[in-house]
Symmetry: C2
Subunit: 311 residues, 2 copies
DNA sequence: CGTCACCACAACCACCGGTTGTATCCCTAG
DNA sequence: CTAGGGATACAACCGGTGGTTGTGGTGACG
């Protein structure tokens, strides 16, 4: 199916006749006739009843019309998403399951009129490069790369400290605990598939491991969170870390347990980065929204690596 | 833009390489390469970075991808809307501003998983024919055509009596009234543009006029409700009838008044019609929803033509 | 009953979009 | 270091889609 054909259908339906539609589309009447005929052939139904005074929609045509309009609207948004110049606010998040996604959803709910696009870049280095080049407008990143301060032209603000929790199956030895001290996790198998070397996530967990003597297995490819949840649920000796903001949806009967970690609670600090000179009007809105909704986090009793962005 | 091209983009993005996408789409790798190149040329941005081991999305490509998926989803729904067999529930309403639209919105809110299409047919005769032919699944119609009972195979149930109210501008002589008796409207100019001869609306108002001695002008084409509202707001001696369920949105400062009519209150009775043998699974859901939400209307003090469908 | 406005069909032709064949690149195995 | 495999891009070719012009048919209206 061709979007030009769909547009032709909509214009013809609005005009009530092919001739006027042809004029509007700057083609001949015969071309419109052929386009509509081809669309009807593809769909297998008659869309117009032709009369000597024009063409009016059949019932099928009436039913199809709003879908055709929606198609054109979506097309316009799709094209706008890559238009240089005034395009939707483009924000990078660190992972689809992380807290940043929830923050963006909250912003979208508060300001549904602002068009957003979400991308996921590999690491902070590329995120900073993308911000400086203008390819993205902002990035939710947890941390500066260890030892590398942010460039002068990048601004940042810490927006959320996400406490990590332990996810276990119901047969796990810690499944019944209401909370577990971080030091007590030493010796337990903790599995974090998909930790790619070179990313901040990995650097974060490397620090966590070094400081508290945990063992984290990053082996195996990441088959998606469903597969991870299945494995955790079925393996008594296995656990994993999960952001405390995550909204999990799992089938009933899985019996998964999400256990807070204490003394200290490891938190993953999310900061918003942006270019000081970025003129996108929606960026200010996003910053204002985050400022307004940011919970006054209490840093006491929490842990984060020393190299994260300051508050 | 071509939807095959968009589909190619999505498949290639999921596969991570053109070759596999080509196999899935049953075309050659060169065809995929050309399609993507054409899409990139049309959009003016690079969507993939080509590597010797495949192709991965650029930032622009990542931003475009969800829009492309949405485009395919909408396309599928559009095609399904005219598919013979299992297509969305197709319901005819009498006018986009009427109460039936509100009922359908309520149904959609209660059951967002049920796909709906709304059409507007000219009069009850065509609606009944469309129901019998299977072109539509149900129809909100106010009335049987005077003197013509419904065919045996059409079932009906009265779902809502919509009280008519008087709409005036702020300078109208009745603008200050909290309510107005129907008999008192005799002598006032009431304007109902767009009343087409042969429809039930027109038959309804003809009866109303005959029984209570009103004068209703149906002159002039219907330029849309915005134009109607403008005229009503600006003309002190003019009023119109409007369904009591209508949610009006007008610019501030118009100063329009919506005044209940009493002694009796003319009500427009909406009934749902459907074919007794219609097997569409969503039809039962719609009927159940309407049964459950139907307010227990009080017929006392209301008026409707004698020839409407019985309760 | 002729004219007008509109749509459909036929013939023609350009160009889009597919295929086959080939070059190039990079990673990897030997 | 080299050969091979797997990936993309470019070139040449060609058929069919989709445009145009020209023409015919049909219902409404004066």
């Amino acid at each position: 199916m061709d979007l030009d054909t769909v547009r032709t259908f909509v214009v013809a339906a609005d005009a009530g006749q092919f001739q006027e539609a042809a004029a509007e589309l700057a083609v001949t009447q015969q071309a419109v006739s052929k386009r509509i005929a081809a669309l009807e052939r593809n769909l297998g139904v008659r869309l117009f009843t032709r009369t000597p005074r024009g063409a009016e929609l059949t019932i099928d045509g009436q039913a199809f019309l709003p879908h055709a309009r929606e198609l054109l609207r979506v097309t316009e948004r799709a094209v706008a998403s890559v238009r240089t110049g005034h395009r939707p606010l483009r924000v990078d998040v660190i992972a689809s399951r992380g807290a940043a996604t929830g923050l963006m959803r909250g912003f979208h709910r508060a300001h549904p009129e602002i068009d957003l696009d979400v991308v996921m870049l590999f690491d902070i280095e590329r995120a900073v490069a993308a911000i400086r080049s203008g390819a993205i407008d902002a990035s939710f990143r947890a941390v500066a790369a260890p030892g590398r301060p942010l460039p002068e032209d990048i601004a940042s603000v810490r927006v959320l400290d996400e406490p990590l929790q332990l996810l276990t199956g119901s047969a796990h030895v810690l499944a019944g605990a209401r909370s577990v001290p971080l030091a007590q996790l030493a010796g337990h198998r903790i599995w974090m598939p998909g930790l790619t070397p070179g990313t901040e996530w990995t650097a974060y967990y490397d620090d966590l491991v070094a400081e508290f003597g945990l063992t984290i297995e990053a082996t195996g490819p990441n088959f998606g969170s469903d597969a991870l949840l299945d494995t955790i649920a079925d393996t008594p000796a296995l656990a994993t870390f999960m952001g405390g903001q995550t909204r999990l949806v799992w089938p009933a009967g899985h019996g998964l347990r999400l256990i807070p970690v204490t003394d200290p609670t490891p938190v993953y600090p999310h900061s918003l980065l942006w270019h000081r000179d970025n003129p996108h009007p929606a960026l200010a809105g996003l910053r204002a929204h985050l400022d307004a909704t940011a919970a006054g986090d209490d840093a006491a009793g929490t842990w984060a690596p020393g190299w994260v962005l300051p508050r």
